[in-house]
């Protein structure tokens, strides 16, 4: 409640107490001649102050319960952020590890190709015994083409 953010709580306690005192005073001292003249206005002011004071007492209590919920929520959000960061680190480590393994494996296979498969290059060269057909190359390149 915004009103409570710039008016201290004790003001509303005082309003409620003053309201009660005025009402009791109006009832108790109503018969005294001088005070009795102002009995009705004092009673009305007292009742108004009681209503407003009690309303604000309820608001203070409500505000406190909301503030407690906000604190609880803040703690939850902070805990979630920490957990999220931890999971991020774990995930990045996992991806880096896997990617490194795949890259290393690819490099190992390339080294193997350079060592073993290269021996058959002349046999499969254009005009060689087992020339690689153009259709085979086309099929491979078509498969590698990104969809448009």
């Amino acid at each position: 409640m915004w009103l409570l953010s710039f008016i201290p709580d004790f003001i509303f306690h005082i309003i409620a107490i003053v309201g009660i005192l005025l009402t009791i005073g109006a009832i108790a001292f109503g018969q005294i001649p001088f005070i009795g003249t102002y009995n009705i206005p004092i009673n009305i002011i007292g009742v108004v102050l009681i209503i407003f004071g009690f309303y604000m007492e309820g608001a203070i209590s409500n505000e406190e319960s909301w503030q407690a919920k906000v604190k609880e929520m803040e703690l939850k959000v902070a805990a979630a952020e920490i957990q999220s960061q931890k999971e991020n680190v774990k995930m990045i480590e996992k991806v880096v590890k896997k990617t490194e393994y795949i890259t290393r494996k690819g490099q190992d296979i390339i080294r193997y190709v350079d060592k073993e498969v290269v021996k058959y290059d002349t046999k499969f060269a254009p005009g060689g015994v087992c020339e690689i057909p153009k259709e085979f190359i086309k099929a491979l390149n078509d498969a590698a083409e990104a969809p448009k």
């Binding site: 915004w2 929520m73 952020e81 991806v95 190709v113 690689i132 190359i137």
Partner: protein, 86 residues
């Protein structure tokens, strides 16, 4: 007019804002890298060129798959964490 202003003020005493907001986290940069284009074989390739190109393409695929799977897993984990904050 005076009464309307007073009444509005009384009504507005109930106004409040909730200051806590949980934001969905950003995706790690590592998972946001685009997958590369696949390599093509030259017009007159040797057998080893073909083998290397195929190997490189398989490697690219698996590297990309790791990123994609990582993103899906990251999203599911973060969603679960985010949904707990309620």
């Amino acid at each position: 007019m005076k009464y309307i202003i007073c009444f509005s003020l009384v009504i507005l005493t109930g106004c409040s804002v909730v200051p806590v907001k949980a934001n969905f986290p950003d995706v790690p940069e590592r998972l946001m890298i685009k997958c590369p284009q696949l390599e093509k074989v030259s017009e007159t390739p040797t057998l080893s060129d073909v083998a290397k190109t195929v190997t490189n393409n398989y490697t690219s695929y698996y590297e990309c798959a790791v990123k994609h799977d990582g993103f899906v897993e990251w999203y599911n984990i973060q969603k679960e964490i985010f949904n707990k904050v309620k």
